[in-house]
Symmetry: C2
Subunit: 583 residues, 2 copies
């Protein structure tokens, strides 16, 4: 090793030892008679101190030639510092060097390698290897490592087997778009990269593997939104001989273990909410329950008072913002602007202040007198000092808009602390949702999800009312995991494909292997997948998953560091038997 110790481990107990440390020059301060080098590696920073009058000329010359990010190795004696620092773990000591070796020089980095850098996103992506030297980025990836190994340890103890499923699989047009890989040995044919190992993990259950997990890369060729990556990582799990309750308990256990082992937090038992309640009370299938502020439906309370907006609305629904009665006109205008933004789409916002003096003042006083407004207060169970915010319109759209307003109020009132974690399950999702555009049913989770046994009869009469044995884990308003109990019967799976508009031939061509497998003794089974990038970012208290991926792609799917994708040689295309169409 080109070191005896790292830059993070020397302590007062090492004083008078001769050591060698290696790392990057964080900075050099030259005060003439004294010269300090801060030497950095992944583990910390150690100060090298040179008394220029006593040190050899060669050492002083080398020290004065060093620039930021030079890679050096320093051999010397550990000495107790005169003025100690409690800002760094090695702050009690310094090194008096006998030898400094420059292992590599460095040109000036395009941004500062500091916790707060002056580099913008684009330049940091291009020089990602320099960005990785910054503590916050490195710590994110250290967190990710810890999350992964604790996940594995927990699941290993429960007899889960990690099994690698193939990456070169088969394209199945259902769901998102596949990335495909032309086959050279079978020209005109393609592999596809997996959107998830779904069918393989089910086959492992058919194969008697009983408990499977994998931390695995998945791929979706979608138009990228702000925080989505074409390749992403899942904690993918499946269990046989289970019911929904078993899956929920097992993976609640995993979540608690991760919070405890990685962050030292004991989280309370996870609550459960039906999809129907999530939509009714939060307008959202992944409600952030760090704060209450549930929806209150007001049709019965507000209609028939000649206020056309409310009278014409499918739904009048509101939230009560605790202690916000003193919001200024300007703040209320901001909220109105907020809900009227095209992506939220409300036509306006009605408010009523329940003032601390007991008076009630609304933006629709000309339609509702104090007595009427008292009914509002009662409906909201509002207290003096609260602000009632009300939207009206078509039911689904209005719920969705109010959900956004609720989250905005949560932010404004400081109710969404990133270091507070509220985890819960949303259960009883609908099996199907109707796609008006394609004029057919679409699987809300995926086509392998089992209907609740008691709802199976509805499949042929009222498919939209069928509930699935499907569940999502939600943390702080983010869906971090989702899964279902699977169909394990050929006839039911075939019926499901029928409902989803597959012809018998299509179903057989794409998923025949799975349906055939169900004939050879398939056990009841179910599973779950966690979005690992997202889970890490949540644990890291961050919003952007890109910061938790070592080498992410940008929003155009490009890796700007290696400049990929890129054209390939004509010889490669020829070997693969494909042509690129001229634009």
């Amino acid at each position: 090793m080109l070191r005896t110790h790292t830059c993070g481990e020397l302590r007062i107990s090492n004083v008078s030892q001769t050591v060698t440390i290696s790392g990057w020059v964080q900075g050099v301060r030259d005060k003439g008679s004294l010269l300090w080098i801060d030497l950095r590696d992944r583990y910390g920073i150690t100060q090298i101190t040179i008394e220029t009058e006593n040190a050899g000329k060669d050492i002083v010359d080398i020290a004065r030639s060093l620039g930021r990010e030079f890679v050096i190795s320093v051999t010397g004696k550990v000495t107790e510092r005169y003025s100690k620092s409690d800002k760094i773990a090695t702050g009690d000591i310094e090194i008096t060097p006998d030898k400094i070796v420059v292992l590599n020089s460095a040109i000036t980095p395009p941004f500062t390698i500091e916790d707060e850098t002056d580099g913008g996103d684009d330049i940091r992506m291009k020089y990602r290897y320099l960005d990785l030297r910054r503590n916050p980025v490195r710590q994110n990836l250290e967190l990710r490592h810890r999350m992964a190994i604790e996940t594995r340890l927990f699941l290993d103890k429960l007899n889960f087997l990690e099994v690698e499923t193939p990456v070169l699989i088969k394209s199945t047009p259902e769901g998102a778009r596949d990335f495909v890989v032309p086959s050279r040995m079978n020209q005109g044919e393609f592999y596809a990269l997996p959107q998830s190992p779904q069918t393989f993990k089910q086959l492992l259950m058919v194969g008697g593997f009983d408990r499977y997990y994998q931390i695995v890369k998945c791929f979706r060729d979608e138009d990228l939104r702000a925080d989505r990556q074409p390749e992403f990582t899942q904690i993918d799990c499946e269990m046989a001989f289970v019911e929904q309750e078993d899956i929920l308990n097992t993976f609640e256990g995993l979540t608690r273990h991760l919070f405890k082992s990685v962050k030292g937090i004991d989280i309370p038992e996870l609550t459960r909410m039906t999809y129907a309640d999530a939509m009714k009370f939060y307008g959202n299938d992944k409600p952030d329950i760090r704060f209450e502020m549930k929806f209150v439906e007001l049709n019965e309370v507000v209609k028939g008072k000649s206020f056309k907006v409310f009278d014409d609305a499918g739904l009048v629904v509101g939230i009560c913002a605790k202690g916000a009665a003193e919001y200024s006109r300007k703040q209320l205008d901001e909220l109105t602007e907020f809900v009227k933004r095209p992506q939220i789409g409300a036509t306006g916002l009605v408010y009523a202040r329940y003032n601390t003096d007991g008076t009630i003042k609304s933006s629709v006083d000309k339609f509702y007198n104090e007595e009427e407004l008292k009914k509002w207060v009662a409906a909201f169970n509002a207290q003096p000092g609260d602000l009632m915010l009300i939207l009206a319109g078509e039911e689904n759209k209005t719920r969705k808009a109010l959900s956004e307003l609720r989250l905005e109020m949560g932010n404004r009132l400081g109710l969404r602390d990133k270091n507070t974690f509220a985890c819960h399950w949303v259960v009883d999702f609908p099996l199907l949702e109707y796609n008006d555009e394609l004029n057919r049913w679409h699987a809300m989770h995926h086509p392998f999800t089992s209907p609740k046994p008691e709802d199976i009869a509805l499949l042929s009469t009222n498919p939209g009312a069928v509930r699935a044995n499907a569940y999502d884990m939600v943390i702080n308003g983010v869906e971090v995991g989702g899964g279902s109990i699977r169909i394990f019967n050929k006839q039911l799976q075939s019926q499901m494909f029928d409902l989803l508009g597959f012809s018998k031939e299509e179903a057989q061509a794409q998923f025949g292997f799975l349906m055939n497998a169900f004939e050879f003794g398939a056990p009841p089974h179910g599973g779950i997948a966690f979005g690992f990038d997202r889970l890490c970012s949540l644990f890291g208290g961050a919003e952007v998953i890109r910061d938790f991926i070592a080498f992410p792609k940008n929003n155009s799917g490009r890796d700007v560091m290696i400049d990929s994708p890129s054209p390939i040689a004509q010889a490669q295309l020829t070997e693969l038997g494909i042509d690129v169409k001229k634009a």
Copy 2:
């Protein structure tokens, strides 16, 4: 859970408990008054015993309706067996059922689900999910799981960080053929799947990550030989501030840990052999040293006796097979046939028996008298009872052929027990090898491998003589891992690309990001990668890696279970902007 216990865990201490177990029907034996069901899951087999006269009619009816591989759940009382079995762990008990539920029926499997099956390779691949139910296959994958988690635990303790590197990267024509992925968002451009995460792990070192590992899928679009997969798995590692010695020690440690924790074997310290010695004494850069049988060069001993074959040969070289002097004429003919096979390519085999009575008898007695043959005995240090086997011809070809003969003799003499493990390092590989076909130098390991510092001057004068800081770990004659100390200096890397015939523009376009990274303070670093599939098969005492992969592809790169690769829809091609050429 649809069970209280698995089929592998009930013992005499559970007697009189009421339990539920679930699994697959391994078999039903019906003796009229008594009826037994063997119920199997991943964990074991438990016997269900039904006294047909005392049991309810429904239970008897269900039991008699069961076929092989039906999935059932059985609730009943654990009772002590009258005649115990020591063949299975649950052999002391049986279950007297109160209830049997058929969870799923099964049609007759196309081959028997037994340790020794009647199914051929092709049918077992097509129904891989049934093959996975067989103990030997499942145990291979359990071994693989254990290998993976022990690898992670060992490296985690040494501060290695598991970092996921991207799968969608950039095509680099150097080396094997890439699989490519057309980009829809950047039409006419392609991603490539990684042949290894080489450049990314080096960038992680430049980024200060210090110690990296990953158990990672890699991809090579090569014409598949018998035991090669288009996607395969590596234990991929890299360390900064190290010298070759540090890498060897660290990964010798990993290997010892795996043998100890997975197989309970303490392996001795790994020996080291230079590439030059490996070729000289074994004709092979991955010698199997479970047995000695070193090459003995005989040019000085045998030439000049008018035996034209030897006199004209560049090299006369042999091995001494201990105790094989009594090989019959037939056996010797077989060996001659063996070395004359086209893939081995020797023109003939000379032998000399050193009989137990002290006489020496060779196949070339007319050229060599007893006195001459005694010189052979001395050269081989042969003992009475030994058989000397000699090949002659062009040096490299002859060494290669003798290496094959040596391995064959090792097999014949029972010296290659798959449960004996001989691990060692081969070091000091040449940096370059000359490709006569392409008329240029080729990197023996890869273009990022560092020459030994003392040999750098030879790069411009005698490139073929430059030794690399490269090393392979060999177990039982199989190269299970290899790596090198890397170049970390832009100029040297650039010189290397020059030597390999890259133009400046090509080098910049393909690896510019890495060479640029070297300018910003790259530390000395090196690493290694283990072929994980191969390592698992070695630990499993098997030769075929396919048996250690859950869903392998066949020799045409096809997954016959899911029938992939396969044609994709024209709409997909259109979106990607590519055409399939008509054959």
